[in-house]
C-alpha cells in the first residue's frame, strides 16, 4: 500500500502474520482508511487490543498501541480514556476476546457509555489457538472443540451490546469493505461508546472445517446473508431467518462518561476549595 494509507502502518513489521485470505487485514485497512478520511490526529489516537489473531492488528498500526491480555482490552482502554479523555481510544478485538473471556468488560463499557470505539473482528472462531468454537460459532457448525457440531447457541453481538445499554451499535462485513469503512467512520465520530461488529473470515480454521473452501466463498456467504438495516426493519421474522442486518443498528446518543465525570470533578474541586 502506498500513500496515503502507508503512513498509518508500521511498514517494517509487514508482511503481517495473518493467513492468506484472512479477513482481518481487510478490516484493519477499513479502520485506517476511516481514520484517514476523518483526519484523526495520529498523535492522539491510541489503539488497544486483547489477544487473538485479530488483536495483532495494532502491532501493524502506527499509533500508540497496546496489546493487552486476552479479553481485557476494553478494561485497559477504560483506564486510558479515564486518565486522558483527550485521547481517541480505539479497541480492536476478536469474537473470542470480546465476547467469550471479555464479555463482561464489553457490556460494562456499553453500560457506562465511555468514549471508546470498539471494533470486533468477528470470524466466529478462535483463530489464534487453531479453531475452537467461540460464542459466535453458529449452532451446528464444526470446530476443533465441537467435533460433533456446536451445541450452544451463539450471541447476536449487536443485540448483546444493545441489551447492555449500548448507545451506538453497528455491523458490517469484510465483504462490504466500503460500507464497513463508512460504518467505522460513523463509530469514530460518535461521542460515547461505539460498537462495530465487523464480520471477518478465518479460512484456515472456520472455512476449512465448514465447507467454505476459499476465502471468497466465505465473503460470498456474507454478501448473500447480509441485509441492510433499513430493509431489515421491513422484513418479517420468517424473512429474517438466517439473515442478519448490517449498518448502524442503534444510535441513541447519551452523555459520554468522562464528560459526566468531568462535571463531578469540577463540583468536587469546588467543594474541596470551599472546605479548605
Amino acid at each position: 500500500m502506498a500513500l496515503p494509507l502507508e503512513k498509518y502502518l508500521r511498514v517494517g513489521k509487514l508482511p503481517h502474520i495473518w493467513c492468506p485470505g484472512c479477513g482481518h487485514g481487510i478490516i484493519t485497512q477499513a479502520i485506517i482508511r476511516a481514520i484517514d478520511e476523518l483526519g484523526l490526529d495520529t498523535q492522539k489516537t491510541v489503539v488497544v487490543s486483547g489477544i487473538g489473531c485479530s488483536s495483532r492488528a495494532p502491532g501493524y498500526m502506527n499509533f500508540d498501541t497496546l496489546h493487552t491480555t486476552h479479553g481485557r482490552a476494553i478494561a485497559f482502554a477504560t483506564g486510558i480514556k479515564m486518565a486522558n479523555p483527550e485521547l481517541k481510544v480505539i479497541v480492536i478485538t476478536g469474537d473470542g476476546d470480546a465476547a467469550a473471556i471479555g464479555g463482561n468488560h464489553l457490556i460494562h463499557a456499553a453500560r457506562r457509555n465511555i468514549g471508546l470505539t470498539v471494533i470486533c473482528f468477528n470470524n466466529n472462531i478462535y483463530g489464534m489457538t487453531s479453531g475452537q468454537y467461540s460464542p459466535l460459532t453458529p449452532t451446528g457448525s464444526y470446530a476443533s472443540t465441537a467435533p460433533y457440531g456446536m451445541v450452544e447457541r451463539p450471541f447476536d453481538l449487536c443485540e448483546l451490546v444493545k441489551g447492555a445499554g449500548g448507545t451506538f451499535v453497528a455491523r458490517s462485513t469484510a465483504y462490504h469493505a466500503r460500507h464497513l469503512t463508512n460504518v467505522i467512520k460513523d463509530a469514530l465520530k460518535y461521542d460515547g461508546f461505539a460498537f462495530v461488529d465487523a464480520l471477518s473470515q478465518c479460512p484456515t480454521y472456520f472455512g476449512r472445517r465448514n465447507r467454505l473452501r476459499t476465502p471468497m466463498d466465505m465473503l460470498n456467504w456474507m454478501r448473500d446473508h447480509a441485509v441492510s438495516a433499513s430493509s431489515w426493519e421491513k422484513m418479517s421474522p420468517e424473512e429474517r431467518e438466517g439473515k442478519f442486518p448490517i449498518g448502524v443498528l442503534v444510535n441513541q446518543p447519551s452523555r459520554e462518561l468522562t464528560k459526566v465525570y468531568g462535571e463531578i470533578l469540577a463540583q468536587a474541586r469546588k467543594e474541596a476549595g470551599a472546605n479548605a
Binding site: A2, P15, G21, G25
Partner: protein
C-alpha cells in the same frame, strides 16, 4: 507497463499472500491469477478505479492510484 487507463495498479509482491481476493473482486477482469494465485495486471486499461481490489486485499499489497495524482 504502459497503459492508457487513468489508473495505475501496483502490487507489493513482498506482502502479497496470493489469496486471490483482488482478482475475484475486480468487476472488470483487470487482474488475472498467476501460477500461485497472486494477481497479474492483465487488462489495465479496463480498470475503473473502483478500489474493490485494494479495499479487499488483506495484505495491503495492491494499490490503485489515479495517474493524474502522481
Amino acid at each position: 507497463m504502459v497503459s492508457d487507463s487513468p489508473y495505475e495498479i501496483a502490487v507489493n509482491r513482498k506482502w502479497c499472500k496470493k489469496c486471490g481476493l483482488c482478482i475475484a473482486f475486480c468487476p472488470k477482469q483487470v487482474l488475472e491469477s498467476d501460477d500461485e494465485g497472486g494477481p497479474v495486471v492483465k487488462a489495465p486499461s479496463q480498470c475503473i478505479g473502483c478500489l474493490l481490489c485494494e479495499m479487499h486485499c488483506p495484505d495491503f499489497a495492491i494499490v490503485v492510484k489515479r495517474r493524474a495524482e502522481q
